[in-house]
């Protein structure tokens, strides 16, 4: 299922975010934990499922594959999609600000 600009899953969003710095699958887990400040604990099945899908959709590329390790990096299309999603989420937060006043 190629990405069509619909809302991203949490997993997809954080993986793209973590890949702003090219990384190994191995360290991505930690990177995601860091970038989400420990909030997200992603299952390995989900991680590799998303990586496979995003690579197919050309939102990320494999920079280097020495047979043992693959280095993933976000593509331009990936960055654009991520930024669009960030803006969408920000707008949503903005819109939700009225809740703050009620709390």
């Amino acid at each position: 299922m190629s990405y069509t600009g619909s809302p991203m899953t949490e997993a997809m969003y954080y993986i793209l975010l973590a890949l702003m710095n090219p990384n190994h699958g191995y360290q991505l887990m930690d990177a995601i934990k860091q970038v989400s400040k420990g909030r997200i604990k992603m299952g390995p099945g989900t991680l590799y499922g998303v990586l496979t899908r995003l690579e197919k959709d050309k939102l990320l590329v494999i920079l280097n594959d020495d047979g043992r390790r693959k280095t993933y990096a976000i593509t331009e299309a990936g960055t654009t999609a991520l930024k669009a999603e960030y803006k969408r989420l920000k707008d949503m937060i903005q819109d939700g600000i009225i809740l703050e006043e009620r709390l």
Partner: protein, 396 residues
């Protein structure tokens, strides 16, 4: 290494939740999943353990790095069957769940789902073709009963059953993955403790019914070939269900005229025996004679009468009439030939047809059907009693 124990798979590999739950229960009994075959699942005997199993569909063979990541999260690969990779983790260790995002897991099923959909469409067309073929064989055939007892009717019907079962499996698998994908995309995680006993039992019963049927289907043609035989009709009298030329001609000058010899069989004086489930006794017996010094009435050559006897013993009495009618349709060539019923005999029914020197008698009694085609000068009225008597008196 412990002893390997095998169990029938029974359920579909596509029933992910049910299989995960089954494997976990087996581990509790000390049987730890080792390998998946097409028919069997292999378990290694050991201590009872609480193990979680997860079936992950991964198209490309997972890299070592990927497996390392899974391992670090507590998941070790056990085995795989095609794209279906099975991971296990100790129930007690606090592992991260293999899939933490049902929607993403749903996406990962897209490709498999598409493949199964294509399969379903292809097999649907194939089934349509297959049924059209079977249907046309019997529906557009002028002699369906003759075809049924001669051809592989029973086998074809069993094949229909087998095809239907295969069709059902393909649809069932597609439906399973399609609905799993749908529920994952709605954010519902797989139930890893799904009840599996009923599905296994049902699949077992179905397979138990289906397997003998398919074996039987394979076996029938071999039985047919094994029982079929051809040999030269002995000149002396036999116990075969046959009307002999000598009995008709009553002419001491009658000698045998041999025909083409092949495989040590005189094909003009030949006994051919066949077996099928619907007609366990099928004889086709040819005999050809010659009377030295005697000519055909039209002086076309030396008088050489011949006769073919077809004799069938059917499994079902109810097919006798239809087979007789089919034989008439098959062997009376001219449309304007008059077919007369002969009454006043002890058998169930007899018909005769005369086309010049070709004289034919069709009759049935109980499960036995006879057809005699005689070329010669003798009158059909003189042959009728011979046929009637042979039909009524023949015992194997």
């Amino acid at each position: 290494m412990g002893k390997l124990v095998k169990r029938l798979m029974l359920d579909d590999i596509y029933a992910i939740g049910r299989n995960e739950s089954w494997f976990s229960d087996m581990a509790k009994k000390g049987l730890h999943l080792k390998k998946l075959g097409r028919m069997f699942v292999y378990f290694e005997k050991g201590e009872s353990k609480k193990t979680k199993y997860r079936i992950d569909i991964i198209k490309e063979k997972p890299s070592q790095e990927q497996l390392d990541v899974y391992h670090d999260c507590g998941w070790d690969i056990v085995t795989n069957s095609g794209d279906f990779h099975i991971f296990s983790a100790d129930e007690k260790s606090c592992t991260t769940e293999l899939h933490t995002d049902p929607v993403e897991q749903g996406f990962s099923l897209s490709e498999l789902n598409k493949r199964l959909k294509v399969n379903t469409i292809i097999i649907s067309f194939a089934m349509l073709l297959f049924f059209g073929m079977i249907f046309s064989i019997y529906f557009f055939n002028d002699e369906p009963f003759l075809y049924m007892i001669k051809g592989q009717f029973v086998q074809q019907m069993l094949l229909v059953v087998v095809e239907l079962y295969v069709f059902y499996s393909v649809i069932r698998n597609y439906a399973a993955i399609s609905s799993l994908k749908k529920s994952l995309l709605q954010g519902k995680a797989i139930n890893h403790k799904e009840e599996y006993r009923r599905a296994r039992l049902l699949a077992g019963i179905l397979a138990g019914l289906f397997l003998p049927v398919s074996l039987f289907t394979i076996f029938i043609p071999f039985a047919e070939i094994a029982r079929s035989k051809n040999y030269t009709l002995p000149e002396a009298s036999t116990n075969l269900p046959v009307i002999r030329l000598a009995d008709i001609e009553q002419n001491p000058g009658l000698t045998r005229e041999t025909g083409y010899y092949g495989n040590d069989v005189d094909w003009a004086n030949r006994v051919s025996f066949d077996w099928s489930l619907l007609a366990p006794v099928q004889y086709e017996i040819d005999e050809r004679g010659m009377v030295n010094g005697e000519m055909w009435e039209d002086k076309s050559g030396e008088y050489s009468p011949s006769i073919t006897t077809r004799f069938y013993k059917l499994t079902f009495r109810s097919m006798a009439e239809n087979l007789t009618l089919d034989l008439i349709s098959r062997y009376v060539y001219r449309d304007d030939t008059e077919i007369k019923a002969v009454d006043g005999l002890k058998l169930d029914k007899m018909y005769i047809a005369e086309e010049g020197t070709r004289k034919q008698i069709f009759a049935y009694s109980g499960k036995q059907v006879i057809h005699v085609a005689y070329y010669g000068k003798m009158k059909i009225e003189d042959i009728i009693p011979l046929v009637s008597e042979k039909l009524l008196s023949y015992q194997e």
